[in-house]
């Protein structure tokens, strides 16, 4: 059985590479039962969105 530490690591790696079928299925099983990791999963996507908006944002305040 996959634990939360392993699951979060895979959820991060999933942003970097396609996960294998085995990885995806044990992850799916884990997140089905684990609210914390399910939240973490959503937050990984949010984090990426936030970072990309941040990078593209223009400074909106004066420099002093």
């Amino acid at each position: 059985m996959m634990n939360c530490k392993q699951a979060t690591r895979l959820l991060s790696d999933g942003q970097e590479r396609p996960l294998t079928v085995a990885e995806r299925s044990s992850l799916k099983f884990h997140t089905l039962m684990c609210t914390s990791c399910r939240r973490f999963q959503g937050q990984m996507g949010t984090l990426r969105q936030l970072a990309q908006s941040y990078a593209k944002s223009q400074p909106d305040e004066p420099e002093n």
């Binding site: 939360c4 991060s12 990791c37 990984m44 984090l47 969105q49 990309q52 941040y54 990078a55 944002s57």
Partner: protein, 208 residues
């Protein structure tokens, strides 16, 4: 093996013509802004960061004819910028603090989130984030985000920015930074854990 940029060049090369990637002011402004954020984060000094960005951009403009694609130009400009940053750090006699992949083991923080069986510790469990889309409209949120980024260890911050801001691929980053893919993934994982914690503690759980 076609080269799309040369396919539309009926008059032959026109040296006065700026390359496609640099002819777009929006692209240039965005690029400059991304570079500046990157440099400020690495140097922790606004004016040094501005100098480094300026020098990198000038260097890039001189040789820009070779770059027709924006993505290629961007990768290259950032490679120059990284050298400028390294130089600036060295001048500050901080060369020995310059981050290297050797620092991979310095972060124990991710272990404290999980118990010995690898389950979330009670206090570390992710909470529900309320309406992140709305936060993006809020200037205060971006200040928090900025502060959280600045709290990351230098190597984590740099690799995270290369990956998420510059949207470089894992392979490109590994080539530039001379680290292995698996080391990169560990560092990104740690950066994400920390950023997630910081945002949750300082923004998403406020007032709940």
């Amino acid at each position: 093996m076609s080269n799309p940029s040369s396919a539309f060049d009926p008059l032959g090369s026109v040296p006065e013509q700026p390359p496609a990637a640099l002819a777009c002011p929006v692209f240039l402004a965005d690029l400059r802004e991304q570079m500046l954020k990157f440099a400020v984060l690495q140097l922790a000094d606004r004016s040094q960061a501005e100098d480094a960005v300026q020098e990198a951009l000038e260097g890039a403009l001189k040789n820009s004819a070779a770059f027709q694609r924006q993505a290629a130009l961007k990768t290259w400009v950032f490679a120059i910028l990284k050298h400028k940053i390294t130089d600036a750090l060295r001048r500050r006699h901080k060369a020995d603090q310059a981050v290297t992949a050797v620092q991979l083991d310095d972060d124990e923080a991710d272990d404290s989130r999980f118990d010995h069986k690898g389950r979330w510790q009670r206090g570390a469990r992710p909470a529900r984030w309320q309406q992140p889309e709305q936060s993006m409209e809020d200037a205060h949120f971006w200040r928090t985000f900025d502060a959280c980024l600045n709290c990351l260890p230098a190597l984590q911050a740099r690799l995270f920015m290369m990956r998420e801001f510059l949207e470089l691929s894992s392979d490109e980053i590994c080539a530039q930074e001379a680290i292995t893919v698996s080391n990169l993934h560990v560092v990104l994982y740690r950066a994400r854990l920390r950023l997630r914690d910081c945002l949750e503690n300082n923004w998403f759980s406020e007032g709940t």
